[in-house]
């Protein structure tokens, strides 16, 4: 019942938004997402103390990993829907969007959040696939919300490339199912994670190898890992800021969650070497690509998008190491990256609003002219670049340590080199945008306090979990053992 409620809460919020066409209906959506976050915390506490929960006649299941992912989704959903109220109000005031389209936007956002929750709470790989495919379907119109040429092109690319990827993932899923049927005979729950894990020892290695490779390629497309990343910079730069925040902050990692789960099965069936080789390859490719394209980036939203590709590469490399320490660090990184990146996308939405351009060259001396916005953007970048005290520093450190432990030191060194290049590139872009003097003394109004409050809190939380990991440590440890027993 609890799990069903978690999946349906955002939809209930969406239904109220659809029925009650009042100016403050957006807050209902925020409240429903906050309730998801609350229930996510409650579920996690129960799962850590009493073991996995199941619901909806065995269709849904929550273990520590699912509980953690619900918390991540809930957090980013609250941030994005909160600031989304402002984004939509401005769009309507500027005449770019009718009130009716605001309603459909909110309904789609709530449906988007519900599909992600279904993906992480799915008890079986088929439902997971259906949920991930559904995220593509519901987000396409959100990416194209502004209906400019660029937005339409981005949404077309997005749905075509992701559908191709997800078809590969289905092929992979069928092959895993084939292995499971050969081992256990036809049974209703052969596709359940628990049953797959229990039979993993007997799954046929040659078919499983092909299946897992297809799954990494397929779900990897949605994660934005190179070489299947080409939709990501376009979609993230064209979508409205709250959508970019949700996509970059959680959708990518929800797709990575699928890879993590299948990796657990594949590691038992094939030994860790196969998944390690595969993940290290795509991780290093992604890092190299992000580094080379960030150097010449001229658009700050695209800069953030390539930065996501970098972080997905880091997460994939951490997962390749595979020991419990590495998986815990990967999960902490998922949360830290989600917080920092969504705050940055939401802030960049505000910057674009007041400056009227997304070109790096078009924005300068932000710290002097607009201290609040400039400050948030700067601090967000500091968090994202992995500077202490923010949690990305600790998670990156832990991942590198784990990689050295399992003999992936060379890959860790390569990753650090890419990170240094990216650091230099991003700092030089940011310096251009933030530092400088201005001779105009006009007072520029900062964004309203109710918009800055959630953004600043997001950064504060990101800093706090970097210093005090204790509220999360038992959850992270339990979740890491789900993947790496």
């Amino acid at each position: 019942m609890l799990l069903v409620l978690i999946v349906f809460l955002p939809l209930i919020g969406g239904a109220i938004v659809a029925g009650w066409r009042h100016a403050s209906a957006g807050w209902v959506a925020v409240a429903s997402n906050a309730a998801v976050l609350g229930l996510g915390v409650w579920t996690s506490v129960r799962v850590v103390s009493d073991g996995p929960l199941s619901g909806a006649a065995g269709v849904l299941r929550a273990d520590a990993l699912s509980g953690f992912m619900v918390i991540v989704i809930g957090t980013i959903a609250v941030l994005a829907s909160w600031v989304g109220i402002r984004t939509m109000a401005v769009e309507v005031a500027a005449g770019r969007c009718s009130p009716g389209r605001v309603v459909s936007y909110r309904i789609l956002v709530q449906a988007f959040i519900a599909t992600m929750l279904l993906a992480v709470l799915a008890a079986n790989v088929g439902v997971l696939w259906v949920a991930v495919e559904a995220t593509t379907v519901v987000t396409t119109f959100l990416v194209g919300h502004r209906r400019t040429k660029g937005a339409l092109e981005a949404s077309w690319k997005y749905i075509v490339i992701c559908s191709v990827g997800i078809a590969l993932a289905f092929f992979g899923t069928v092959l895993v199912y084939l292995c499971a049927l050969h081992d256990g005979g036809r049974s209703a729950n052969a596709l359940d994670w628990t049953s797959l894990m229990a039979h993993a020892h007997h799954l046929d290695p040659s078919v499983m190898r092909l299946g897992f490779a297809l799954l990494v390629l397929g779900y990897g497309t949605k994660v934005g890992l190179a070489p299947m990343h080409s939709w990501l910079p376009d979609a993230h730069s064209q979508a409205p800021a709250p959508i970019s925040a949700l996509m970059s902050g959680v959708l990518l990692t929800v797709a990575f969650y699928a890879i993590l789960r299948f990796k657990a099965v594949a590691d038992v069936a094939l030994g860790p070497e196969f998944s390690r080789t595969l993940l290290v390859t795509v991780a290093l490719l992604s890092l190299a690509l992000a580094a080379s394209l960030l150097l010449t980036q001229r658009d700050y939203k695209r800069m953030l998008a390539y930065h996501s590709i970098e972080h997905m590469g880091l997460i994939a490399l951490g997962a390749a190491a595979g020991v419990p320490l590495a998986i815990a660090a990967v999960l902490l990184h998922i949360l830290g990256h989600g917080l920092a990146k969504s705050v940055l996308f939401l802030t960049s939405g505000e910057i674009m609003l007041v400056e009227g351009t997304s070109q790096i060259d078009g924005v300068h001396a932000l710290l002097a002219r607009r201290p609040v916005l400039g400050g948030m953007f700067g601090v967000g970048l500091v968090a994202l670049l992995g500077i202490p005290p923010f949690s990305l520093f600790s998670s990156e450190l832990l991942m590198v340590r784990a990689e050295f432990q399992v003999g992936l030191g060379w890959a860790a060194v390569a990753a650090v080199i890419a990170m240094v290049v990216i650091f230099v590139a991003v700092v030089s872009h940011a310096r251009h945008m933030l530092i400088g003097s201005t001779n105009t003394t006009e007072a520029l109004a900062p964004p309203p306090k109710w918009v800055t409050a959630p953004l600043v809190s997001g950064l504060v939380v990101c800093g706090l979990i970097g210093v005090f990991a204790w509220p999360l440590s038992s959850l992270l440890e339990a979740a890491a053992h789900v993947i790496s027993p």
């Binding site: 079986n124 439902v127 077309w156 078809a167 092929f171 899923t173 209703a188 078919v207």
Partner: protein, 218 residues
């Protein structure tokens, strides 16, 4: 009895692949819609044949859903989107028809080489046909990259989808019915979204050629 089971299965699976190749041959949207409908029906028959042979009620229900969604609903949608516009002809594809057919022959050989392992592993009459499904997928990918009109690209996606569905039927007699329903719903909604987008692209860019899409780059 089992002889007719095997020959029906082979015939229907073969039809799915022939339809995929035929998409490369024709240039008018109206013919493409007919081909897609035939392919959807052939796919439904594969499921039906397997379901009847195995006395599997879930699989027969799946077959009915497939026939309805892929044989009727999607072709009707496609027909509406593509009707009455000369713009929807694939006038100058990136790869011309003879070259496309040679390429698809190559892809089919590749599929047979690549999927042989899986086919042996499955080990049934149906399993031996798995390479046909993989070949359909690959031809679908080829349509996707070699054709420039959005509606043709959409058909490419459908071919990929039908190819994977065929592989699923042949390998594992499909997935459980509940999941199959979810998949069909996703595919249907995906087609609707793609069609609305294609319409918006047409009104924004005038023609429906994807060559115009060059706004976004680094």
């Amino acid at each position: 009895m089992s002889g007719s089971f095997a020959s029906t299965l082979t015939l229907a699976s073969g039809t799915v692949l022939v339809c995929a190749v035929a998409v490369l041959w024709v240039s008018s949207m109206r013919s493409v819609v007919r081909i897609v409908a035939v392919q959807g029906i052939a796919l439904g028959l594969v499921a039906m044949d397997l379901g009847i042979h195995a006395h599997d009620a879930g699989l027969i229900a799946t077959a009915v859903v497939e026939l309805a969604v892929k044989g009727v609903v999607i072709p009707v949608f496609l027909g509406r989107a593509g009707s009455g516009s000369a713009l929807d002809r694939e006038g100058s594809p990136l790869v011309n028809v003879p070259a496309s057919l040679v390429a698809s022959a190559g892809l089919i050989l590749l599929a047979f080489a690549a999927a042989r392992g899986v086919a042996t592993f499955v080990g049934t009459t149906a399993g031996a046909l798995v390479p046909v499904g993989v070949a359909t997928m690959l031809v679908g990918y080829f349509v996707l990259v070699a054709r420039r009109r959005p509606l043709f690209q959409m058909v490419g996606l459908l071919l990929v989808d039908n190819g994977v569905a065929l592989v699923a039927f042949l390998c594992t007699a499909g997935v459980p019915f509940l999941i199959e329903l979810g998949i069909s719903l996703d595919v249907l909604l995906g087609v609707v979204v793609l069609m609305v987008l294609a319409q918006r692209l047409r009104s924004e860019f005038g023609t429906l050629s994807l060559d115009e899409l060059k706004e976004l780059h680094d």
